[in-house]
């Protein structure tokens, strides 16, 4: 094959492309109650510890990446990087770009299985004064600060769509992922849930 033939017409496509539109939606009066930041281009990968290797995995993640493995229901995210608990012995690694996760699989070889999820999930950051109220319409977990705080995470469902959510700060801001194939259905729910508060969609290129 000649060199000229290797140029591909394939281009990365956001999970939210054709689904989310930047700008102001829903109620238009006053300040938007919900702010939705699209998490495009982020690096996501699942980590599944090999049987009995959790302690060794914990050590190497701290030494090599400065990450601490969260306890069940936890999320240790600093800035745009860190780990979110998913299931017993399973975590979601996140980073601002997929290349930031380069070397992760090699570093934990024999201790954990790493699977890139960057193209498999759609991520949205939900913030603003009415973020909690909007999300509470579809989540069966309690988001009240007495039950769910910064650094906590949950794997649950929203409107029958499997979702993973973690709280980033006390504002509050939440990061939420759904399977990419559900992005359209999920957005349809989110649009309805956030409309009464007025919502603003921002950012399609990283955070």
């Amino acid at each position: 094959m000649s060199e000229g033939m290797t140029t591909s017409a394939w281009r990365p496509r956001s999970a939210w492309a054709g689904v989310a539109r930047a700008g102001r939606h829903g109620r238009l009066q006053g300040e938007a109650g919900v702010r939705l930041t699209l998490g495009d281009g982020m690096g996501l990968a699942t980590l599944i510890a090999a049987d009995g290797q959790e302690t060794a995995l914990r050590q190497i993640l701290t030494d090599r990446f400065g990450w601490s493995l969260p306890e069940p229901g936890g999320a240790n995210v600093v800035g745009e990087r860190g780990l979110v608990w998913s299931a017993p012995g399973q975590w979601l690694a996140i980073a601002e770009t997929r290349h930031a996760l380069d070397g992760l699989a090699e570093a934990v070889r024999g201790l954990a299985a790493v699977t890139d999820q960057s193209d498999a999930r759609a991520l949205v950051r939900v913030s603003g004064p009415c973020a909690r109220m909007a999300l509470s319409k579809g989540l069966t977990i309690d988001l009240h600060p007495s039950a769910f705080r910064t650094g906590q995470s949950a794997v649950t469902s929203i409107a029958h769509i499997g979702a993973q959510i973690w709280q980033r700060n006390e504002a509050p801001a939440y990061d939420l992922t759904v399977a990419r194939s559900f992005a359209d259905s999920f957005w349809s729910w989110l649009d309805h849930a956030a409309a009464e508060f007025g919502y603003e969609v921002v950012g399609t290129s990283g955070h």
Binding site: P72, G73, A87, P88, T140, V155, T156
Partner: protein, 95 residues
């Protein structure tokens, strides 16, 4: 009914699916007679009272749980990871 998952905390029962009796032990297929296998596969007690049963947290941590539930009141007195229950049972058999 809400189930307090050992890993995720209290969740709506819609996140779980039910399998059945957690106390059954499969007979050794090479040793057991047909009646014992028939009993294991088909026959169930319909208890009015405390029941140990298997639930799968499919919409959450995807772990199997052993739930101790009163079938008359739906009161749940204990939830344990099925893996731990199986390990304990195996250790118990070995001892």
């Amino acid at each position: 009914m809400r189930i307090r998952c050992s890993h995720c905390g209290e969740r709506d029962n819609g996140e779980f699916s039910y399998l059945g009796d957690a106390t059954l032990a499969r007979p050794d297929g090479m040793e057991a007679d047909a009646a014992a296998m028939y009993d294991y596969v088909y026959l169930r007690d319909n208890l009015a009272g405390e029941h140990r049963e298997l639930w799968y947290h499919g919409a959450g941590c995807r772990a199997w749980l052993v739930v101790t539930r009163d079938t008359r009141t739906h009161t749940i007195s204990d939830v344990s990871p099925a893996r731990d229950v199986a390990r304990t049972r195996r250790t118990g058999e070995a001892a």
